[in-house]
Each structure stands twice: as C-alpha cells, then as structure tokens.
Symmetry: D3
Subunit: 157 residues, 6 copies
C-alpha cells in the first residue's frame, strides 16, 4: 500500500517525524510531500524543506520526499496513491481534518484517509509554535531534529 | 502488517463493515474481535455476533473473526498484533478514542492506533441507534447488512 | 408551519419553557411531546408531565401538549409535522443532537431540524441537575416554574 | 415571521442555497444579506454576489437578496427582522456561532437565532474550500450552482 | 485562601493526587472531599476512600481529607470555602465541568471555580479506567499510588 | 503565591477585568502583563494599554501592570512567577489554552497553569468583538469599563 503524508513542514518537527515514521512502519511506501502554499511567507523555501526532510528521513528506505503545487487529491491521483495519512492532535484538529478528508474524497473517490493520533509527547509540537519560539530566540532543539535546529541557527546568523 | 478491529458489534452495522473493509484493503491481515462485556445485556450473544460477522465478511480472505474476554491490549500482545484500527465519527468520539488509545499504549508499548474517519454515509450509524429502532419495531435494513436484519427478525418472532 | 418540541421533560425546566416559548413565537403551531422512555425511572409519570406542561403553557394558544411511546420521526409523520425543534446548550450537545437529527432524517425524509441555542441564563439548566438537587432537598425554584416546584414539594411530602 | 440569512457568500455554495431554501420553507419571508467585509479581498464584489444570489434564488418568491455594510444586528433592527438563521456544520462551528449569537443579542435584545444543521451532503462545502479549488483550476461544479460555476469560469478567462 | 477538591476518588489515582498536590502548592488550605454517591456501587466504601487519601496525602500539612453526602455547594458554604478546584483533561471534560461550575454558582454565589489542566502524563488516567483494568486483573501500579494498588490487591484476595 | 495574567488586552474588556479581579482575590500578587505582538496592528499601543489597565485596576493593591516583548514563559522565569492564570470561555478555547500551557511548561518546568471559566455574563466578550463593533461605530460601553470606552471615543475623534 502506497500512502502520502502531505504537509507544510515549515519547519519539520519531531511531531511530523513521529507520524512519518509510524506511517513507514505501517505501510509499504510513504510519500512525504511538501505542499507549496503561495500565500504564506515561509521560514524555509519549499526546496529547503524537501532537503531537510530528506536528511532527517535518510535511514528509511521506504520513504520518498517530494513537493507539489497541486492539490493533495490531484498529486495522489497522478502518483497512484490511495491513502492520505495525517496526524491529529485534539478534537478541534479532528473537526478540521475530517472536513478536509471528506472534501478530498469528493475530488478523488479512490482516496482513503488514515488519522494517526499524536503520540502524547508530541501532542503540543506544531510548526507555528516552533516559528514563534525562533522569533523570540528560544532554543527549539527539544521540538525539532538536530538537522533542523542547525539549519535554523544558520538561517539566523 | 497485522491489525485488529475490536468492538462490541451488538449488532454489527454497515458502519462497522465499512471500517473493516477499508482496514482489509489497507492492511495485510485484519482480526475483527468481539469484546465481551459482562456488564451490558446484549441483543446478540458473543457467539452469535461472531457468526454474524463471519457471514458478512466471508468474501474477505484476509479477515479473521474472533472474540475475547481479555483487554484489547492483552489480546493484541498474545496474537502479535501491532495496530488497533478504530472508526471515528465526530470530535466527541475522537476525544474518547484518543484517550482509550493512550491508555492502551501504556499497557502495551508496541501498539499503534489508526483512526479511520467514518464515511459520510455511515457517520450516524451506531449500534445503540439500531437497538433503539428495533425496540420500536422500525425497519433497520438501511443501517445493517441483510444477514443482520434477518437475524434480528428471527430474534423478534 | 407545524413544529414539534419532543423531550423527556422530567421535570420541565425554565430552559425547556424558554425553548418552547421561542418556538411558539417562531412557528404557527407547536406540539410539545413527552417521549415515554421505558428504561428510566422517572420523577413524574408521563401523564403528570403532560399535565404540568399544560399548566405552564396554558396561555399559549398555539401550543399543544401530548405524549407518545413512538419514535419522534414516527409521531411527526402521523401528525403531519415537518420540523423538529431542539434546544442546544454547548458543543457536546450539538454533536449529539446533529447525529440524532441525521438519524431521524433517514427514518423520515420530510423532517427538517431547527436548533435554538439556549438563552445564556438557561444554558446550564437541565432536568438531571434539577433531579439531583431535589434528591439533596435543595430549593429548585430558580430552575423550574412555580407550578413545577409546588408539584415537586407535594411529591416529597 | 421575517428572517435573515446573513453571510459573505463569496461565492454562494450549494450549502448556502440549501440553508436558504430550508429557511424559505420554514418562514414567511427570508432576507439573504451579503455582509460587506472591508478586510478581505473577495473573489466576487458585493454587487456581483448579490446578482449571483438573485439568479440562483429567482424561483423563490419569499426570498429577497440585499447587501449591507452594517452589523447584522443593526440591519435586522432597521428592517424589523426578528430572527437570524445560520447553518451549522460541526461542533467547532457551533461554538463560534453561538458566541456570535449571544453577542448579537446583547446589541439587539429582540433578535432570536435559529441554527439549521447542515444537510449531510453539504456538510463539508464552504466558500473557502471552493476558492482554494478555483485557485488550483479544479472544477467546482459539484459544490456550487451552475450559475456560479459559469461566473467563475468567466472570471478566470 | 481555603479551597476544596471534591470527587468520587474510587479509587484515588495519580491524576487526582497530581491535582491535589498542585492545589496544595497554590492555596493555603485544601479540603479533599469524597462525595458519597448513593447510586453507584463503589469499589471502596466512602470511609475506605477517606483513609486511602489520608495515607497518600499524609505529608501535606495543609491538606485535610473529609467526606460528605451533601452537595458540593452546600459543603463549601458550611465550611466557609470560597473556591472549588477541579482537574480538566480535555475539551469534553471542560464542557461538563464548566456547566457544573455555573450550576454550583447559582446555588452559592460566593463560590469561584479554578480548573487545573491535567499534567500531560496523567491526562488519560481516570478511576473508571483503573476499575476496568482491575476487573481484568491487570496491574494498575502505574496509574495509582502504591498504597492504593496494595489496597486493591487485598480487596481482590 | 505570585501569578501572572498575560494577554493582548487590545482593548481590555469587562471579561479581562473579571478574570483579573478573581485572580486578585485568589492569589497574593497578580502581574497583569501586556504581551507585545509585532505582527498585529493594534487599536491601542502597548503603552496605552498598560495605562488603561492601570486606571481600571488602581483600586487593587495586589495588582501590578507591566508589558513585555518576551515569551510568557521567559517573563515568568525572570520575575519568579510560578503560575499563569487564563480565562477560558468554551471548549474550543480550552483546546487552544491547554496546548499553549503544555508548550509553556516545556519551556519552563516550574510553571503551573490555572484556568478560570468565564463568568456567564462575560462569556461572549472578547477584544476582537469590541474592535469590530468600534469599526461599525457601535457603542461598546456594555463590554468595556468606562475608562476604556472614553479612550475609544477620544481615539475616534
């Protein structure tokens, strides 16, 4: 079974990596796909995020990192991917994700959605928190892998 | 990957079957396990529920139906099952399921949990609704497979 | 437009009456229907609840009080009622009520559902709270109409 | 009873139209009011949205389309409207809508609020989704009436 | 400031003790009060629960353990307690607790309510889970203090 | 016990003041801290908000008003504050606040969090509502203290 873990990953966090690694142990092949979002001003460019994810996930032979400016449902159709995997942190998250899932199913009837509940230790880690901490010059090494915290430090210099 | 879909299944509904069939297409092998609950007075006995599920799921060669009086986490450990699959219908459901998942992980660190959001057409189908309708002699054939509605009719005679 | 406000009303509270009165100003004709529930041991019998509601609502010429042992969807069909009105207090309530509404629509496609958000001052008034207070001999006159608090006092003697 | 269905309607969706049509069958007279919002950059101008709604709702003799730069509570007072009708899709929506309703009641004590739970088939349709799909050149004809999808196509040329 | 931590405590869990200890560091004096509930069949009698809590909390000189068959609001009034402290685990919990708080304020206008969000490590620990595990002969020592797990073992023999 | 009530307070509302006053009666010393947020265009400058809060809270000898561009967790550490007090209005609010609390605890292990449920009469009062009403020239004197409504009037001239 080929699955897709789409996201902004700006930056990738330990929470993202936990979801990706669990997906990689559950399914045969995992596409991690950075969704370009023209509206937001990102911390890292799409290409940088792809490189960072590749570095963090190098040891997983069944994980492939890519990016797209397409809709998730379109990317899945083109790559013959039948399942989207998403992490869910709390009930507000769930409402949002289940609505998105239903909308995507209308666009691509062959898609199924799998939600992985966040591991307790990563439940509160999200990219927007990491970006806010960076803005206040707070050390974020407990929220992101070392590759990422070094990339952030380089960016700040 | 071997997964488990535990539940009361009293009676099995179209919603349950949707979750089980999606699990059967996502994973190699699916244990559907009727959890005995000594506290509730059931509509069908545990053994009847196992038989009904077997009839409904006969065409799926990778689905195995069983029952247990053990905890889900214990059954999984004994049968070397690494993943529990649960359907989730709304945000209240999510709160309940994610708490249960965290508790089970404390009992069996090797367990992972996968939530499948209910398909729109089965979002409101639950066994307690079916039982209430039966109590009012309402035809429930749109909520359960034909095998089940016949079993219910036999029971009522 | 003929609408129905179904409920247990055991006992009717100021919150119920607020919903019924708002329904009576919104719609032409309001059926207030006590749903018999064989499973619970009530404070007042179905007939007593009907009488109490009639006393409390006597001044409203477009309100009719009745009881039923049928499903709400069946009662509505038989009485040619097209709309069910329900009060909603918070988001948990909403999840429950919207699921019930969808289930009833499956049983009676012609039914529509209208939710009235509880008025701020009645948001926390519910029959189970009133029953618990009565059990502790607490004065409940701020939660129920005077007719009801007198009926409760008579019952307690 | 005169009611008001306020909204941004940018663009009007099948979900909006379902709510408006249900309101039109429940109440004598329905004002559909496009609320101008100076902060957002809209897909359609206020005047275009009014025209599109008029085209979609022409067959309903008791529906009147208008726009306002006033608060909803002020518009209602000026037009002697006693009830605001809003569609609600899920529990997060409910929290938001009930807070808005309470705030509006503080501004206009004579207002009542009626929530219509989204029909299952329109539960996930929202304008922001439609706008995002348009941005990706995805066909949105299953989410909006044909009048709207044509207007969108003209806009894109 | 004198505060009260009411509860069923059947049995007291590590989650309860975390809330009580945090209350004891925040406030001058903490009443821990076992609320008798005539409806439920408890694991431990009220008196046993009081004794177990006393053993677990002996080191805290500003914690006093008691029991009551009164309403929480009444106990607080009689003992001149101005604040109720409650642990909250998730958003469903919050809805329930805030409704209870509002109801109690109607009964005792001088009461204030303080909610402590569960510590991450105790978020899923609740007495009903512990009782269910006990029923399945599962070791619960990671969820309750050692005094309690020994009392449970004695009970089971 | 020294506590902190952080917030944007743009403008301070009756809801904020209710939380601050309750905190001032619960704890020995209350820091009310205006958090500067470089991203938003405020109605009042940080310094103006500090002055307005000082005027509104002058009678409370145990309340100290300050501002910071630091993270809440950092400000607390520097000022030896062990507890953050936050008002919570509904379950969506709770999800947001509890996540923020957990994140702050990761940054400062000595912090505890106390949530005060909004008083019923202030449950729907929030600064964004007040700002929107001001934009529509609506009188906001029922939502903010007189000091604030006068400051708003001066600003508008």
């Amino acid at each position: 079974m080929k699955v897709m873990v789409p996201g902004s990953f700006d930056p990738p966090t330990n929470g993202h990596l936990d979801i990706i690694k669990r997906a990689a142990s559950l399914f045969d092949y995992v596409y991690v796909v950075v969704a370009q979002n023209s509206l937001k001003k990102p911390l890292f460019t799409t290409q940088e995020r792809v490189e960072l994810l590749k570095e963090c996930l190098g040891e997983f032979s069944n994980v492939y990192v890519d990016s797209t400016s397409d809709l998730v449902a379109s990317y899945a159709r083109e790559h013959n991917i039948g399942v989207i995997v998403r992490g869910v942190r709390n009930s507000s998250d769930y409402d949002y994700e289940s609505e998105l899932a239903s909308a995507n199913k209308l666009l691509n009837y062959n898609l199924d959605f799998v939600f992985l509940p966040s591991s307790e230790e990563y439940r509160i880690v999200r990219s927007s928190l990491v970006r806010e901490l960076i803005q206040h010059n707070v050390n974020v090494s407990q929220f992101v892998p070392i590759t990422i915290s070094e990339a952030i430090r380089n960016k700040q210099q």
